[in-house]
């Protein structure tokens, strides 16, 4: 995996981009979720070794900068395409988690011809007040954990949100939460509805796989019905024993990407 920082087209905008060593096959663009990247890609090593995966860090989440330039998700999607174009001019599979999935959809809506397909995990973007999900912006970490993680006492949770007796360390963790959710609030606050439904026609027939976590309290799996209405071609997968952190709690994201790569065939 190599990392580079690409100065953006606007002053203050800088993209940090990670890319796997392989330069063969269909290119995949990965966009992390609203809680950030946690310093790890949610794919297994073997997959990363054999795939051409481009991970673009969202501005405002600690590595890339310039979030203050964007008020709307379509503005950010435009800038994300600019970052993709620094790596490749070929059509790509867009994959994302949570807010990253909503951004991936927005990018695909903007440039459907540059999008081969989408693999979305626990996507924000469609809201139903009958099953609104928890308010990730209001809930305190102790209260939101059960909505995000299938096992809140397991190693994954402790790795993502390490406990500390040191008030200073706890303060830094709290500040990090403010930083990433503050950035996310620009696009999915107060309601995570990005008007995808009204523009879904742009993706008619486009290959799409959507994963939901069985116990996801932030993006309720019941939303699968709503997504299926707007995207009848989508393959819906509900992943057992996962909550909102499905890509980190299971191998299902990798598995579904492999399936899509197989469907598409050689690039």
């Amino acid at each position: 995996m190599s990392r580079k920082v690409v100065p953006g087209p606007i002053t203050g905008l800088n993209f940090t981009i990670d890319r796997t060593a392989s330069r063969h096959g269909q290119k995949i663009v990965w966009i992390h979720g609203e809680f950030g990247e946690f310093g790890q890609l949610p794919f297994d090593e073997k997959f990363l070794e054999s795939s051409d995966l481009i991970s673009i860090h969202l501005p405002g989440w600690g590595l890339s900068t310039g979030i203050e330039l964007f008020d709307k998700i379509d503005e950010l999607a435009g800038a994300m395409w600019w970052a993709v174009e620094q790596e490749t001019s070929e059509p790509v599979i867009l994959a994302g988690h949570g807010l990253g999935a909503a951004i991936a959809v927005e990018m695909a809506i903007a440039q459907p011809r540059a999008t081969v397909g989408l693999v979305l995990s626990n996507p924000f973007g469609i809201f139903n007040s009958d099953y609104p999900g928890c308010d990730i912006f209001a809930l305190m970490p102790r209260d939101v954990a059960g909505h995000l993680y299938f096992d809140t006492s397991g190693p994954l949770y402790l790795q993502h949100f390490p406990a500390s007796d040191d008030a200073y360390e706890r303060g830094l963790i709290s500040i990090k939460r403010v930083e990433v959710l503050g950035a996310a609030s620009r696009f999915i606050f107060p309601i995570p509805d990005t008007n995808i439904v009204r523009r879904s026609y742009r993706l008619a027939g486009k290959k799409m796989t959507i994963l939901f976590g069985e116990k996801d309290g932030a993006v309720p799996p019941r939303l699968a019905t709503d997504w299926a209405k707007s995207f009848p071609q989508a393959k819906i997968v509900t992943v057992q024993n996962t909550a909102h952190m499905t890509p980190y709690e299971s191998d299902s994201l990798t598995d579904e990407l492999i399936v899509m790569l197989g469907d598409i065939g050689p690039a």
Partner: protein, 421 residues
Amino acid sequence: MKFTYFHLMPFDGLPEDFTSKYRSVWVDIPSEVQDVRRIHTLYNDYLDELEYAAVKGFDAIGVNEHHSNAYGLMSSPNMMGAALARRITDTKAQLLVMGDAVSLYNPPIRVAEELAMLDVLSGGRLITGFPLGSSQDANFAYGVKPATMREQHREGFDLVMRAWKEKDVFSHNGRFTKLRYVNPWPKPLQQPHPPVWMPGSGSVETMDFAVEIDSPFFLLSYFGANFAEGMFKKYWERVELAGRDDNPYRTGMVQIVLVADTDAEAKRLYEKHVQYFYQRCTHIYPGFTEAPGYKTVRSLKEVLPAKGSKVKSRPDSFAAAQKYSWEELVEFGIVIAGSPDTVRERLEAAGRKSKIGNWVLLMHIGSLPRELAMYNIDLFTEKVMPGLTSVFTEHPHNWWPKPIDNFAPSKVSHVMRKDQS
């Protein structure tokens, strides 16, 4: 020193088991707790108290804005200001609206219009305040995005100021508001505009903003001047750095003040009402108090504890105050209460120490009944205030309504009813 009688207009009917039964007094408090008939009485009692405070000689009376809560029933400060404007014309009291959180109004020109109306209606007595707005109100009750609300607040504030000052119609092409024609009618009576005070809860950005626009900084804290010393120290450093003078009227602070004949009597009269406030009215779900992005990373880093610290929670927090006894609340200066001498000494000491020229006093608190609030007003205006009004008189108050050239206020008289002689 200048004194404002300030009101939150709290709901006094929260049940004893409120904190165990309900998550929060703000944002998602259920309507089953409401008693609208009681609120009718409270509104009228509270307006009477404010009017009485004006009659008794307070320098100003003050109203504020909160939403979706039982802590303060004023969702529209301007509406309450309007109810008061015609009732204080025979007093010397000014009208403090502190204030309108401009980012909640779309377009913010509505704030410019309503405040101008209030200024004209009151005969140029208006003092304005432009808080950012609490996170509970702005983010959760009104849906303003926390990450951009400071920019939105600044844009709205600048628009209001320009709308008041500009002689000609102009266009506003902002990031958050676009108006082809900006032309509020009427303009304020005070020209170029009424005094502007800048309230904040401690973010460095608000202090910097106040210094930048040469406006008094008001600390909206419920934990007293002792805990605020560090905050004021930071503020005065900024004032000095900006090359401005150290006029104490550049600062203000909210303070709970409760006066009785003796210190012991103060405890007997007020304790349960203060406990009602700190235990029920401020029972706010912590997640509602600071939406991520509401405070900047810069401000949060300013209050990071030292490395290795084991502190669990701050002593100047609602969580801590919920557990304080009356004696602790008084000892820590969270509440200034006691005999007239005690209250006068403490206010003067706190004012001199941090150079606080303006006191925005909460003298109705929690479930305090009307007659006790009136008693508190009587004792304060008769036995405390006279000993303090001369403090800081060597400094000009540059942020106070001033007489207006060629203007004589209309005489307000009650319209006679048919059945009255």
